[in-house]
């Protein structure tokens, strides 16, 4: 998928663990892993909103388009 989810970058900036992030957003660690390694097919706006809230960032900070 040419859209990558840059969770790891934002997590590193805030020194937040994947486990804590998953719990605060309300995702399973398995789904966080799916987002991180680019296998996600679709993301709910409500999930995106929760991720932005937890990471205090904008959707644009999380989503990035890369040319394949």
């Amino acid at each position: 998928m040419p859209i990558v989810v840059r969770i790891d970058v934002e997590l590193a900036k805030r020194k937040m663990s994947v486990g804590e992030f998953a719990e605060r957003v309300g995702l399973t660690p398995a789904n966080v892993a799916v987002l991180k390694n680019g296998r996600a097919k679709a993301v709910r706006f409500s999930t995106l909103e929760a991720m932005c809230r937890v990471l205090e960032c904008q959707p644009g900070d999380l989503l990035e388009w890369v040319d394949e």
Partner: protein, 159 residues
């Protein structure tokens, strides 16, 4: 959802009754009735065994449909209906209806070409048309199940 649960429970009761009814016809009514008919009109004796085989297979098809419907109802109850495994049971129902219908068509054609009056063929037209409607409706419902299953699997990938 409560109404669906009631309908499913009621449907199961009716299915059990229908299955038992078919079983009684299979082991008693059909063989007995044919034997009686042959006694009454011995000139029709050559029809006894072919007709017995056809009727028994058709009753068996009815039982297959009932068992498959039962299995599908269980899948509905457990919320597993939108899965690939449901299609095996749906296909079995379709095949059973198809086999029973083709046999009925053969009987209809035989009766139609040998009938002196239009009474019997017209009477056979009723289940023939009904069976065609049922079978084609099943094909439509199978396509709907296919669509719903694909939507469900798409939705399950949404994070």
């Amino acid at each position: 959802m409560l109404k669906t649960a009631w309908a499913v429970a009621l449907l199961r009761v009716v299915l059990v009754m229908a299955f038992l009814l078919l079983l009684v016809m299979q082991v008693m009514s059909v063989p007995g009735g044919l034997a009686y008919e042959v006694e009454q009109s011995p000139e029709m004796a050559y029809l006894r065994w072919p007709l017995l085989v056809v009727l028994e297979i058709q009753l068996l098809c009815g039982q297959v449909v009932i068992v498959c419907t039962w299995k599908l109802l269980t899948m509905v109850k457990d919320d597993r209906i939108f899965s690939e495994r449901a299609f095996a049971w749906v296909d079995a129902i379709l095949w059973a209806i198809a086999v029973a219908w083709v046999l009925l068509l053969a009987v209809f054609l035989y009766v139609g070409f040998n009938a002196d009056d239009p009474g019997a063929p017209l009477l056979l037209m009723l289940p023939l048309t009904g069976g065609a409607v049922l079978g084609l409706l099943m094909i439509v419902m199978r396509a709907l199940l296919r669509q719903a299953t694909e939507l469900r699997s798409d939705m399950e990938q949404v994070i």
